[in-house]
Amino acid sequence: MLSFALKTLASDRGKFFTGVAGVVFALVLMNIQGGLYLGLMSKASLLVDHCDADLWVGQKRVDNVDLARDIPEIWMNRIRALPDIDRVEAYIVGKGTATLKGGRLEDVWIVGSHPRSMLGTAWGFISGSPESLKRPDAVSFDEVDLKKLENPRVGEWLEVNGHRARLVAQTKGITGFITMPYLFTTLETARRLSDMRPGFCSFFLVRAVPGCDKERLAAQVRRRLPNAAVFTPPEFARISQDYWMERTGIGISFGASTCLGLLVGLMMVGQSLYALALDHLAEFATLKAMGADDSQVCRVILIQSLTMAGIGALVGVLIVLAVGKLWYSPLAPLEIRPSLLLGSTLVIAVIGLAASLLPYLRIRRIDPAVVLQG
């Protein structure tokens, strides 16, 4: 039966390749859409994902790492003495307006880290280093924002909220969900550039002693700071991503286009299998006349559809991996995760099964008596 199923499938290359193309199309679309979505979502939690803190402490109602609310620095004293805490540092994520060389205004994020550890500072330096940011008024900027900032060069000055800032370092690949430029600096420079009130900051970054239970520590911190929100990094990353997903409806948009791709793939595979079945009705009738029962006929169709799905998925995965290698766009990063590839391949298998339903129902209706009618 395997031989019959495969050779019948291979005998009509046009229909076979149409079906395989449908699978490839659906799988590539799912992964590109899914990869772009994941890439975009990871931008929403960029600061959290690239920070080595064990806990994030913020204002009670904070729901996004970029849109922080001020908290009093004095609260740090309530938790510093907890035995599982190695150190606690203030962290600022503020907003400012940069006045550019040409006089144009550009909104920017100002991110300030404690100069001792520079925890949560920039990464991917192509010029300068975290050390260079410790100089007075020093800030970094990213390559992706060159155009927005009117092509500044390292060493040039910038005005932010009426204060002078010196561009001392350049990074590559740091851009957030709403694409406002990030200027990384120290806590004090950030406080000044963002006009943060004295004695306040945006978050506390907590480093735990090695080997401690982070969930237990989070619970202890929550008890000590009932008016603060305490998150582990994965929790805060998810909350930050959910914030944008719920407010922008971006998930619906990506989901709709992915579903459309799946539907097109399903139609192409289903149509190919159906046309193939119609072309071979006499052969299926012969099989039934010879005594094939419904399960044996079903097995033939399933082998054919899963073969199409399997070959299409293999080609699709190779294309996706190649695209993933070649793709570079900080503004629209593509995150192809193994779980995405595996998930989409399983969806393709389901598409293959669904696509075989219609031809199966058609073949089930064949009367084997037709082979005895000349």
Binding site: M1, S3, F4, K7, T8, A10, S11, A282, E283, A285, T286, L287, K288, A289, M290, G291, A292, D293, D294, Q296, P368, A369, V371, L372, Q373, G374
Partner: protein, 238 residues
Amino acid sequence: MDDACIRASGLNKAYVTGDSVTPVLQEVGLEVTRGECLFLVGPSGSGKTTLLSILGCILSPDSGALTICDTEVSAFSSTEQARFRREKLGFVFQKFHLFAALSALENVQIAYALIGTNKLESRRQSLELLDRVGLAHKAGSQVRHLSMGQRQRVALARALAGNPEVILADEPTASLDAEAGMNAMHVLKELCRSLNKTVVVVTHDSRIFPMADRILRLSNGRIAPEPVPETPYSTSAA
């Protein structure tokens, strides 16, 4: 248990189209003994193919009794009919109905696949059958590359695959020229005789009548009482 391989009595079948009912078989009764080669003949529309479909458990009679290989089959469900067909019956079709994408060997093997024979064993037995029909050397050939006569012999080998008790042949010479038709019938007859198979052949081809052990004529859906006239080629018609 007796020596009758097929025993039918009072078989009736009618086709219903809207309000009109067209009787095709009326009170048909027949017996075919084990190892016998029975020919069913008669003009077009006489009910030959319908009777063959009923004997082949492809159609169910509206009424009547039918026993094949000591099993009452007239009330079988479609699932039971399918199982009975693949285990007990072999078919030779007018247009062969071979699987175009497969080789001669694979066409025979597929009958074994239906009854669950493992691949090695089905390959061995299929090659043996192809050898018996004189086509062992063509086992790997695609059936579309074979002559019509060779295709019919592949169809014969396929019908015999799985060791069925009864072979049902529908106009087995209709798609062949005279010489190829006679050759195919010789092969069918000899094989079935040596393997003690019961054979029912529906045919219009009077040239092969001499190969029958017995001939029944159908007329207007009934078994005609009169004997079939001898043909110029007849040697042993019953």
